[in-house]
């Protein structure tokens, strides 16, 4: 017998790889994460690295330092001891280039500018930070609540199950989006509030999934074996039951991230999202409304970004779902 160390994860990965679209999506998401993390280095109105009067500095981390346009002015007049590296996109999300307001895509502004002369590429890059962090944090909160409630309901049954199941049903009765709108109207829109609100309204699906999986695994003999070897309830839930529910939760999470990103975009579009000074894909779309007839790039670009991101997450979710489905094994 070939002694192949084949874990469950490696089996899923092998199955997952069969879907080419999903692999491409994985790269898209990975690229988005890299872009979001490196946003200050990619699109900034200040140089990445600067040497001035014999001193090295990194102006991108210093809000008080001179911007590129100001440096350009100095450069001509100064004695020559000034050297700096530009970021690839030499505009911040709030750099107002008043010379080219509503400029269509040009060499200077690759995807054009908006009505205030802000560069679209730069806004897009900085906006990905909002979208991704909202998606990940909100669903992270939802997953934690969902897993805990699901495990408690499925493992203990009886009263715990009764109360949690009813709570899930009540939560699913609310039209989530309007609930979020209402709550945000009270607590005030901020990226933190959005994450929390999406998180605490989005846990029901995961809870139900974990509960079901827990009920299924609970009666299996290895759970009894863990009990007779003297394991505590918490340990049994966490170590022996949860791993079996993890794969379907992962599927649900990747769909959840997509819908959280969409929810954030919709909220920002309606003006309930991040403050106007922060670039986000939804608020870009919202501002684009005014110039719909003259600036096609204003709606197309953030719209496509939202579309591609959500598509990628959904494709990943779908491929994962197929990969963990034992009936799909070939």
């Amino acid at each position: 017998m070939v002694n192949e160390r084949q874990t469950y994860a490696s089996m899923i990965w092998r199955q997952f790889k069969k879907s080419r679209l999903a692999v491409v999506s994985l790269f898209v998401v990975a690229a988005l994460v890299v872009i979001a993390l490196l946003a200050p280095f990619i699109a900034n109105e200040r140089p990445i690295l600067m040497r001035h009067a014999g001193e090295w500095s990194m102006p991108i981390f210093d809000k008080a330092s001179l911007t590129l346009s100001e440096l350009d002015v100095i450069k001509d007049s100064s004695s020559g001891d000034l050297w700096f590296i530009n970021p690839p996109i030499p505009f911040g999300p709030t750099t107002y280039d008043l010379d080219s307001v509503l400029s269509p895509p040009t060499k200077k502004h690759l995807l054009g500018t908006d009505g205030d002369g802000r560069d679209i590429v730069s806004q897009l890059i900085w906006g990905s930070r909002i979208s991704l962090s909202v998606g990940v944090v909100a669903i992270g909160i939802a997953a934690i609540i969902g897993i805990i409630f699901g495990l408690l309901a499925g493992y203990f049954g009886g009263w715990a199950d009764m109360i949690i199941s009813r709570l899930i049903e009540i939560m699913t009765c609310f039209p989530t989006f309007f609930l979020i709108l209402t709550v945000l109207a009270f607590v005030g829109p901020s990226i933190f509030n959005i994450m929390v609100v999406i998180g605490i309204t989005g846990w029901t699906g995961i809870a139900r999934l974990v509960r079901g999986e827990c009920l299924k695994v609970r009666g299996r003999q290895f759970v009894h074996a863990a009990v007779v070897s003297g394991a505590r309830d918490g340990r049994i839930m966490w170590r022996h039951i949860l791993p079996h529910a993890l794969a379907p939760v992962l599927v649900s999470v990747s769909f959840g991230v997509a819908s959280a990103i969409l929810a954030e975009a919709a909220l920002s579009f309606l003006g309930f999202g991040v403050p106007a000074s922060t670039a986000s894909w939804g608020s870009m779309l919202s501002e684009a409304q005014e110039y719909m007839d003259i600036g096609w790039w204003l709606t197309l670009v953030p719209g496509s970004a939202i579309f591609v991101t959500i598509m990628a997450y959904n494709l990943i979710g779908e491929a994962l779902r197929d990969a963990i489905d034992p009936n799909m094994k070939t």
């Binding site: 002694n3 290895f222 074996a225 863990a226 070897s229 003297g230 079996h244």
Partner: protein, 325 residues
């Protein structure tokens, strides 16, 4: 030395169809280093019995309604039914180990076997990772798994049924318990593996000095293992005795019927039908007032149906629940 004294243990399930008396007044002693076999047909309450000893009856619908389980080890004598859940948890795995019928499903498919045996050790004995690992390897060696250092890194699906049951035994014995409860541990294995596992259990018993409660319906296995035998029928012990007494001098008609229905190779049996006990076990939720075996018994008389049978009405000197033994 008496390790376990069970008195009048009664476990009932409260269902919509009524009260199911799965274990009804079981009383027995278990001595250190000895093997007690609990024998009976499917559905007679054997497994509920073993789960009751571990206090693992799902509650509701089940409940241990009365009785006591006096457990006597180095820490002195105590009633398991009166311990707190936390105290009971510390006894499970540490003082009383248990193995199950299905070695296929008794191991968690997402962890390596070394990981699972190590967990049981770490839970009760603690120690550094290295100590736990060394002990895991020792346990695997003890149960006769070759190349334990490689095997411990394998997942349950990479092992054969016999290997998995060995791994299960290693897990149950990892903290050298005083009692091992084995609930039909060989039923799912083929006969050669079965013999190996039984040999292994006897060997480990000698080596570690533990007592075994062996639950089975297979009288062949019983003959090989038992010091004491308790024959169970419809939730009650109908006959209790030493292996010799039960096999050589069975008193209860049910025990006699069971022994007769073992295939034999003696002269004169060729070509004849194997004797069986007619009928089925009555529903445990609706037991007759008298002897539960009456409807299937050859020797049945009116008294059997009208009157509850005490433990030894014929003064045999041991438990034989029959008026006409």
């Amino acid at each position: 030395m008496t390790l376990l004294q069970v008195r009048n243990l009664t476990t009932q399930f409260f269902t919509d169809e009524g009260v199911v008396k799965a274990v009804d007044g079981a009383t027995f002693n278990l001595d250190k280093g000895k093997t007690l076999c609990i024998v009976g047909e499917s559905g007679c309450g054997k497994s509920v019995m073993s789960l009751s000893l571990m206090r693992l009856i799902p509650e509701p619908p089940g409940r241990i309604v009365q009785g006591e389980i006096m457990f006597n080890d180095v820490q002195g004598e105590r009633d398991l039914l009166k311990l707190s859940n936390e105290e009971m948890r510390r006894i499970r795995g540490k003082r009383i180990g248990m193995i199950f019928q299905e070695p296929m499903t008794s191991l968690n498919p997402v962890y390596t076997i070394g990981n699972q045996i190590g967990e049981a050790i770490a839970l009760h004995e603690g120690g550094s990772n290295k100590q736990v690992k060394e002990r895991t390897i020792r346990m695997l060696e003890l149960v006769g798994i070759p190349a334990p250092e490689q095997r411990m890194r394998e997942y349950p699906h990479q092992l054969s049924g016999g290997m998995r049951q060995r791994a299960m035994i290693a897990m149950a014995l990892s903290c050298t318990p005083d009692i091992l409860i084995a609930d039909e541990p060989t039923t799912a294995l083929d006969v050669t593996i079965q013999a190996q596992i039984l040999d292994l259990m006897r060997e480990l018993q000698r080596e570690l000095g533990m007592a075994i409660i062996f639950v089975t319906h297979d009288l062949g296995v019983v003959a090989e293992m038992a010091d004491q035998i308790a024959v169970m029928y419809a939730g009650k012990f109908v006959e209790v005795g030493t292996a010799q007494q039960i096999f050589n001098d069975p008193k209860h008609p049910y025990t006699q019927g069971l022994l007769k229905s073992i295939p034999s190779f003696e002269k004169g049996t060729e070509g004849k039908r194997l004797p069986t006990i007619p009928g089925v076990v009555p529903s445990l939720s609706n037991l007759p007032m008298g002897c539960a075996f009456a409807d299937r018994c050859e020797k049945v008389k009116d008294r059997c149906r009208g009157e509850a049978v005490s433990e030894d009405p014929c003064n045999v000197g041991r438990l034989v629940r029959c008026f006409y033994a």
